[in-house]
């Protein structure tokens, strides 16, 4: 039962510091994963035969018949102008005027439509764009600019400006139906749930499916004893303490079955071996297990590129877009066309970046952002906007930044209405404007 600590990375070569994927955080990520892997080795896997898994797991799919809604939060402020880039004519000149050193030249962009091109590091997503399962929305914003990471995130995930509502929007989505399984709302890749889940509906946060294990319980009998005892010990505790215990204990048996079954991605899907790649692989795993997943949330941080974002050919932004795109492409490949018809993924970020680059080869906190869409029901192969490109000429900018002409809640509401069969989104987003940008198809 003993677990070994991983070797401490004692030295990071300076040359490595500058290299893609050799960055210290990457090392830390590996280290953390090794920790978890090793911690797992201390646990005893419950012995449920793999072949029995799917029948056993089909017990609680519940009444939900909508898409699995995957919310990928790009924390730190994703610079959408480096990903979905104005590529033509004056729009491109205005862009390069603001970003003379970090701007992506038109010749390097993957052509999308008459206005936009895509960063070449996103090439893995181009086939999905062409097939109509990947698309984007440009110039998305909140109801007003907020250039603080912290309050912008709060506003975004509470998603109820001008009200006293303190719950998160995902919690309100889950609360619209009868309670589902312990897996109805899952934060994957972290043992803490994001603020979108804040509120009374239970959610499950886990580093990974394989790490979700009670180390003291060596077999099913022991697990049952532990579960009973821990349930009893939390009886009468305040909800803040009791609810996570109830959720954890309710999910352990199913997690043990999933772990025993193992997981191999299908259709040759190759996820990057990173925190993001592993988390998204586990989301696909939960989707395919049909255990009642309704909303999955994953975080991918480190977009706060105030400095040294790199060039079109390499560096921080390039690496990040490569990892993001490779992961999304692997996710769609792994699910396959049929499963993808029942999944809608959206990326969100607390704000876009300033129009102009700063003096450090980066961009500071700004306003208008880009949202990425993936799924069988999205109107892919397009860059959606509300009323056209707001532009990057001086007169077009809002306090120096790209305007946000599509309220991000309109995108979420449209997905909830058309893909998740939610009905009216005003229950989730109080007072939301009825404008929609027609970025997904109605689920048949």
């Amino acid at each position: 039962m003993r677990t070994e600590p991983p070797a401490l990375a004692r030295r990071v070569e300076p040359a490595v510091l500058a290299k893609p994927c050799g960055c210290p955080d990457y090392e830390r990520g590996i280290t953390r994963r090794s920790f978890i892997t090793r911690a797992l080795a201390g646990g005893i896997v419950a012995g449920i035969a793999a072949e029995g898994m799917f029948t056993r797991l089909a017990f609680a799919a519940g009444p939900y018949t909508g898409d699995v809604f995957v919310v990928l939060s790009l924390r730190g402020g994703f610079d959408g102008l480096q990903a979905i880039v104005p590529a033509n004519g004056q729009n491109h000149l205005d862009y390069l005027n603001l970003r003379p050193t970090v701007g992506i030249p038109a010749a390097s962009l993957l052509p999308l439509d008459a206005t936009f091109g895509m960063h070449p590091a996103m090439a893995t997503l181009k086939p999905f764009y062409d097939a109509g399962t990947f698309g984007a929305v440009q110039a998305v914003g909140q109801d007003q600019p907020d250039r603080s990471h912290f309050s912008a995130m709060e506003q975004m995930e509470r998603a109820a400006p001008g009200t006293s509502i303190r719950t998160g929007w995902i919690d309100r989505v889950l609360g619209l139906r009868d309670p589902g399984t312990a897996f109805q709302g899952v934060q994957m890749g972290s043992n803490l749930a994001g603020p979108g889940f804040l509120g009374p509906s239970p959610e499950l946060a886990m580093w990974s499916v394989d790490s979700f294990d009670l180390n003291g319980a060596s077999d099913d009998t022991q697990l049952a004893l532990w579960t009973t005892a821990l349930t009893g010990l939390h009886t009468g505790a305040p909800a803040t303490l009791a609810a996570p215990a109830t959720t954890a204990l309710g999910a352990l048996a199913t997690a043990a079955q999933l772990r025993a079954a193992g997981y191999t991605p299908e259709n040759g899907a190759a996820y990057p071996d990173t925190g993001l790649g592993n988390a998204m692989k586990d989301v696909a795993r939960l989707i395919k297990a049909d255990i009642g997943l309704q909303v999955a949330a994953v975080d991918y941080g480190d977009w706060d590129m105030h400095s040294g974002m790199g060039t079109v050919a390499g560096g921080w932004m390039y690496d990040h877009l490569t990892e993001l795109s490779g992961t999304l492409a692997a996710f769609a490949t792994d699910l396959g066309a049929t499963r993808l018809n029942d999944v809608t993924l959206v990326t969100l970020t607390e704000f876009g970046r300033r129009g102009p680059e700063n003096g450090s080869g980066g961009t500071d906190h700004g306003f208008g952002q880009a949202v990425l869409l993936l799924g069988g029901g999205v109107k892919g192969g397009q860059v959606h906007m509300n009323g056209g490109w707001p532009g990057l000429a001086d007169a077009d900018l809002v306090d120096g930044d790209l305007n946000g002409t599509t309220d991000y809640r309109w995108v979420l509401a449209e997905i909830l209405e058309k893909r998740c069969r939610l009905g009216a989104a005003t229950d989730v987003f109080p007072g939301i404007d009825p404008t929609r940008i027609n970025c997904v198809n109605v689920k048949p």
Binding site: M1, R2, T3, P5, P6, L8, V12, P14, L17, A18, C23, P24, R28, T31, R75, R147, S148, F150, M153, Q187, S190, N191, L192, A193, P195, L198, P202, E203, L204, M206, F212, L214, G216, T228, A229, L230, G232, L233, G236, A237, P238, T240, L241, A245, L276, V298, D299, G301, D302, D304, M305, H306, S307, G308, G315, G359, S360, G361, G362, D399
Partner: protein, 521 residues
């Protein structure tokens, strides 16, 4: 662009390639909350007084230390709360040679100067790893417990993530000269020290901010996070002015130290909120910047914010407004001195009435577990066991000083209430109680927790263990839950060969530590 930097291009590129804040902990940012301040986690008061004994000595120990021990309880019983607090507020008078020697013997790099380490140009992270391990060791084994709690508080308030790639030569010095030096001093001195430290200049990019190409990262966060707070009424123009005022505060790429560069400084009238300056010369910019930083430290909004955060740390997730206002006044009346604020806080009625209103975060849970089990560091000058704790806490998402974004770890229960996190804590309890890992730590036999002689039945055994571990009997229902795990009842006979006092003792200990009794701070 960095006109004053004389470093050869190669090194400059290496340093430029360093990733700013969220980058330093890409998995910390995967911590859902990544970047999420406590404000998001608005939460009802916890109010779980039934799980902690109505004992104000224990209450103070739970809040002002990393966990009560028999020794600390004996001490506070003997001294009384007032004298105990006085002693803790004068940490230099507490003989802490055990902890001090532990650090100096095992983590030799922490005493090295920034200049020496920089001169080697190794980019070696060893000193930052030593700092992270030292933080765990000090929290666990230092007798200056309240001081260490305050070090943690300020390390989060003025967060410079450890490790981060600009900190290899300077992050430990930031801990020593900014945080530890002023942890029980005046906030104005701490804020000035942070604004003139290379670690902060690198972490929030002020090292790259110049009059022609301002970088707003530090100029914004010094307002939003370090001082007045996002609701203080400043606007984007104030924020840009804040950035301009601080241009020139930078980093010397030759020495690895802080330096002021007049040639980078924006000259001309500047105004931020109620502060303004003619700012007439490049050479005068350093003093102008310090004047601004001091203004921020002494601003009433800063007073309120620090008071609020201290109340959130020590009293309640939802601090009582009356106490916050009162502490803010104390802060201002004492020119930002922290000790008078803490005295008032711990002496307040609101503090006494807050029994059961706080929950331990994962690190506090683990350190309290180490303390109550009497676990000691590795034999000799070994560090493998402490290193194991480092990875354990990282796995729980709460490694000291390691929060990626600049706002510091949240300190409200709702931010940490999650199924996966709780499961991680449970796994930690059994791992430590059973001495599975890290097994290099030295641990007294769990049998020491057993009453002698053994009681004749299982019921009293569970309560005796609970009194040792969580300082109170369990409720009947909770006691019976533990007994049910053993397949026993309260009245079933106990003898020395029974599972409860032999091979299943670690499980029983872990279960009691898994209960909300241990979770309450």
């Amino acid at each position: 662009m960095r006109g004053t930097a004389q470093l050869p291009k190669r090194e400059t590129e290496q340093l430029l390639s360093r990733r700013t804040f969220v980058r330093t902990a890409s998995l910390a940012s995967a911590l859902a909350a990544s970047g999420v301040s406590s404000a998001i986690w608005a939460t009802p008061a916890l109010a779980a007084p039934g799980f902690v004994p109505a004992d104000l000595d224990l209450h103070l120990l739970r809040r002002a230390t990393y966990g009560a021990t028999k020794a600390s309880l004996d001490e506070i019983r003997s001294l009384g709360r007032t004298a105990w607090l006085d002693k803790q507020l004068r940490p230099s008078r507490i003989n802490d040679s055990y902890s001090t020697n532990l650090i100096s013997d095992r983590y030799p790099n922490l005493s090295r100067s920034m200049a020496d380490i920089w001169a080697e140009q190794t980019f070696d992270w060893i000193t930052m790893f030593e700092l992270g391990q030292a933080a765990i060791a000090r929290a666990t084994w230092s007798k200056r417990q309240l001081f260490e709690v305050m070090v943690d508080f300020w390390s989060n308030h003025l967060n410079v993530t450890n490790p981060f790639d600009g900190g290899w030569h300077c992050r430990h010095d930031y801990d020593k000269k900014v945080i530890r030096k002023h942890a029980l001093g005046r906030f104005v001195d701490m804020l000035v020290a942070s604004a003139t430290h290379p670690a902060m200049m690198l972490y929030l990019n002020n090292a790259e901010s110049t009059k022609d190409n301002p970088n707003e990262n530090y100029g914004r966060e010094i307002l939003e996070l370090h001082s007045v707070g996002v609701d203080a009424g400043y606007d984007e123009n104030d924020m840009r002015q804040s950035t301009l005022v601080l241009t020139g505060f930078g980093f010397d790429w030759n020495t690895g130290l802080f330096s002021y560069y007049g040639s980078n400084h924006h000259v001309g009238p500047v105004q931020v909120m109620g502060w303004s300056h003619t700012n007439g010369s490049a050479n005068g910019g350093y003093d102008v910047g310090l004047s601004y930083v001091r203004y921020l430290a002494r601003h009433p909004a800063t007073a309120h914010r620090i008071a609020y955060k201290l109340c959130q740390r020590f009293v309640s997730d939802v601090p009582p407004a009356g106490l916050v206002n009162s502490l803010a006044n104390t802060y201002l009346a004492n020119d930002t001195a922290i000790v008078p604020v803490l005295r008032k806080l711990f002496g307040s009625t609101a503090f006494k009435n807050s029994l059961g209103d706080k929950v331990r975060r994962p690190t506090e849970d683990v350190v309290a577990t180490l303390r109550i089990l009497g676990i000691k560091p590795d034999a000799g000058t070994g560090t493998d066991g402490i290193q194991g704790l480092y990875w354990m806490l990282e796995g729980l998402g709460n490694l000291p000083m390691s929060w990626g974004p600049p706002d510091g770890y949240p300190d409200v229960a709702s931010a940490w209430a999650a199924a996966g996190g709780l499961l991680g804590r449970w796994n930690t309890h059994i791992s430590l109680a059973a001495h599975w890992w890290p097994d290099e730590l030295r641990q007294p036999p769990l049998e020491n927790l057993l009453p002698s002689p053994l009681p004749p039945t299982h019921g009293p055994l569970i309560n005796a263990l609970a009194k040792k571990l969580v300082f109170r009997k369990l409720s009947t229902a909770h006691r019976d839950a533990v007994l049910g795990f053993l397949g026993e009842t309260a009245s079933s006979p106990l003898d020395a060969n029974d599972a409860a006092v032999t091979w299943r003792l670690p499980y029983v200990v872990a279960l009691i530590l898994d209960s909300p009794y241990h979770e309450i701070r």
